[in-house]
Symmetry: D2
Subunit: 291 residues, 4 copies
């Protein structure tokens, strides 16, 4: 069960969800053992309230007796027996990412910089914006930039164009990196658990607009940032990561915004990384992070 | 301006609030200089939105030419000129503290332990509770325990008795150390900015009842605790201190409660310490901490 | 695999260490499944550098087909096959704890308070000290206090008496809660991985004496505290937990000591809790925390 | 004393150091009051051990009766009387910054991104490197790149060339943003308290080479980063800022390096910001941060 960084041979990652019952761990580990699957990582969790069981298991495909495309069919009887919902991923798949932005560039710059340092797996295929401010940044790094200005009347039609681009580019993950527009329910439902947003507050405190101004007015001593999956309920999706920073009475709204940027960048980048490594499971409105 | 720890001679601490104008710092520092007052600490702040100026200045009485009880009268003309609201404190005054508790003892134990280690100035004169659970703890440490059970009908009459005790014992500061009852507006107004509460959430998130249960249900990744002055609006008083701790999907409500206790203790103890050292000024609903 | 808090029926906890090989997870989970063992927790880790595999697995004894005292003998062939070192624990075993102190009482008070709140499993059977300062605290809580003053000449003979007490009281865990004396190698070896110390610095910074004074002199902006297993090399044992707090140029050594106490208490209490819940494995000089 | 963000009229910032004596605050505040100087900020500190007094005072030049270039001469008698060492700065002065890098670009990218967001005052005039890896990044942002490869024999001669460039470009501040070469004493002395380095450990833990590898081997649970002024003693200069992040046994050296980058960026950026805003005073080997 040796950990192999940067291995050429990919791993398989299996995510399981089902009603908790004995025999699941035994079943899957027996299956891997028989087929010479070297387990790299295994973690599990049972939600107390619902009794739902979650598991993430990762193993080396190098030496594994079953070819990639046959793994699921071999497991189907086991999945059926336990009524298991499953997802399988292979670590050599490179997710195709679209980043949505408006005018602020700190999260975009940060993601690009991390990508160049290979901090997360994935290709930033395109940038979509409702403003032109960050076209220059996109050009600088040679990333295609799509400009879709949004107003009250063109929301649906513009989203259609966006969806066409996303489809054409086979986008796996949408990152809202300070995109200051609310997506329609219809859009959101097409990318369930594949849209990550960064909200500039410690949710559920300061839901909605201008959270730093709200934080300033309330006189809090710590501010936060929250990355979460986008759902149709605004700012209510499953929280992936949060971070905080201290402030004091000396900090103006301007200072709070600046300090907030540091934690926004980190909370968003961690969420993207966890997602592309298939380390997140969702239990109702909560995330299970197998890190 | 040497700092003198544990000096026998007390210091004077002057807290000033007024509309911002030039000449205030010059005026007060000139006054101290002329009278041989050695400044130990001076800090100031101007609230951007209201233009109100706040100052805390502390100096040694040892060698100071004006006797303690004459200081204010000498400064009255200066205060009048600038329409300054002021408070003066002397560091040899030992605040008389009452602690209100219900059933949980971790904050009470923590405060008593800190007091014995001389971590803050003040005498814990009495404990008031609406339950009997912590009588034993009070007895253990020889602190008088007053039992005032509260129900829907006796709230006013019981508070009257509590107020009588507080008055008789000349209590300067009331600490609500997990007191799970809401005080009446009338009670609160009698001790404006002299009641400190610990709320077991990162306010303004999870206002109200069972915040840890709320945090668990929302799936947050960080929980908080908030100490604040009590005002007539529940959980809306000026925040003094906040602290946070990470949680994960593995933490049950029970675990969250346990982790929360650690930050409740610290956030409350810091607030008490800041208060008794006269380091807190209040600007509308926000605190200015001159630490 | 449901989590059952406060269950009457105990759980079994198995800790395994061996050279990494396929089949270990399959073997143990198959064994549990066949015998109707409901897994509550399972986590594993492989050390990259040594290729050593570590596992912690916990299951309900309620319904398990094999009686407690037969479990190991049934597993012996499996352990032999994979050359597994193992430890088995049952959650109804209450560890017997001895606390060593000198003059400072904050960690002692904190542990006693947590114990009364049932924050960790274990009975504080006795307190040993080389000073008399904390006898009163021990008496207050009705814990037997043993006074063994240490000087240059009586170290060995006093430790003999301490060891006799520890043996007689069947002590499982020794907690050095600000015990300011170095134990002899001979003593330490008798309680390998059963002595937890709190060091008042962010190890390995400021090894040795007066770390807060050292931190003050170096002008650091953050101080730390470290809980670790005691080994014969001073301050070099496997680190269990660390915590930190910010300081500034305004903090005197006195302030730093005070701020340090808060993190000492937390870092020590967390280590004790992890230990008594059998969540710590040691890999050479590092800990693996299965939390 | 209203705070005026983005004011067109600059402020004056006076930094004072002297043996502590009564009359200094009175003297300076009287001087400002008489000349209609509106104080924006005033803070002071007295070092306990040496009795040295430090002050930072900032006031608006708008309306101030004395022209910028006459301020010092007017204050000379006062400075002489109290043997005050002083520095005066004007907030409209834009510091000219040189960044030294080697191969890693995360700190460089971060500083450039922050600069574009106007998070700190200063112009990044040039980049100096002993490697060519980051030339492309420099070119991307249009910042002149100077390549000075260093080996055992050419250190002095290359530094001479570097110094010539720095002099020609009138550089005020050198930022070592992961520059993995040690500067000669002679070089360092030419830019006393004007060279800021980021060290990838929680100094003084893990001084020297490969601190993350050291942290991994020691099994610490928290890692740190430290920004400091460079002095001739390696890693011993006055610490400006530190930050930390939790790690676990699951983190490989590779993971630790990645997590470390986040805190390196923040600790370095904060130090640069504090420096260019003239908020740092140095007391022997420690910093006083008037933030």
């Amino acid at each position: 069960m040796k950990k192999t960084e940067n291995t050429k041979e990919p791993h398989a990652v299996l995510l399981l969800t089902c009603k908790d019952k004995t025999g699941i761990v035994a079943g899957i580990s027996q299956f891997l053992y028989k087929n010479n699957g070297n387990i790299i990582y295994a973690d599990q969790h049972t939600d107390e309230e619902t009794g739902v069981f979650f598991m993430r298991i990762e193993w080396e495909l190098n030496g594994f007796k079953i070819p990639k495309d046959k793994i699921v069919s071999k497991l189907i009887p086991f999945f059926k027996k336990y009524k298991i919902e499953y997802n399988i991923h292979f670590t050599n798949k490179i997710p195709r990412i679209a980043i949505f932005v408006s005018k602020e560039d700190h999260c975009l710059n940060d993601l690009i910089s991390r990508k160049r340092n290979n901090e997360f797996k994935g290709d930033i295929k395109l940038i979509i914006s409702n403003h032109l401010e960050l076209k220059e940044t996109s050009d600088l790094f040679g990333i295609p930039f799509y400009f879709f200005p949004i107003n009250k009347n063109n929301r649906i039609s513009q989203e259609k164009k966006e969806l066409a681009v996303l489809k054409k580019e086979k986008i796996d993950l949408i990152v809202l990196a300070k995109y200051m527009r609310i997506l329609t329910d219809s859009f959101v439902k097409k990318y369930t658990r594949r849209i990550i947003n960064i909200h500039h507050s410690f949710l559920p405190a300061f839901i909605g607009r201008r959270p730093y101004r709200q934080a300033y007015s309330r006189g809090v001593k710590i501010i936060g940032a929250t990355s979460h999956y986008v759902t149709v309920e605004l700012d209510e999706g499953p929280i992936i990561e949060q971070d905080v920073v201290r402030i004091s009475h000396r900090d103006s709204v301007h200072d709070i915004v600046r300090k907030g940027r540091d934690i926004e960048k980190v909370a968003l980048a961690r969420a993207v990384r966890l997602h592309v490594e298939n380390k997140i499971l969702v239990c109702r409105n909560k995330t299970i992070i197998f890190d």
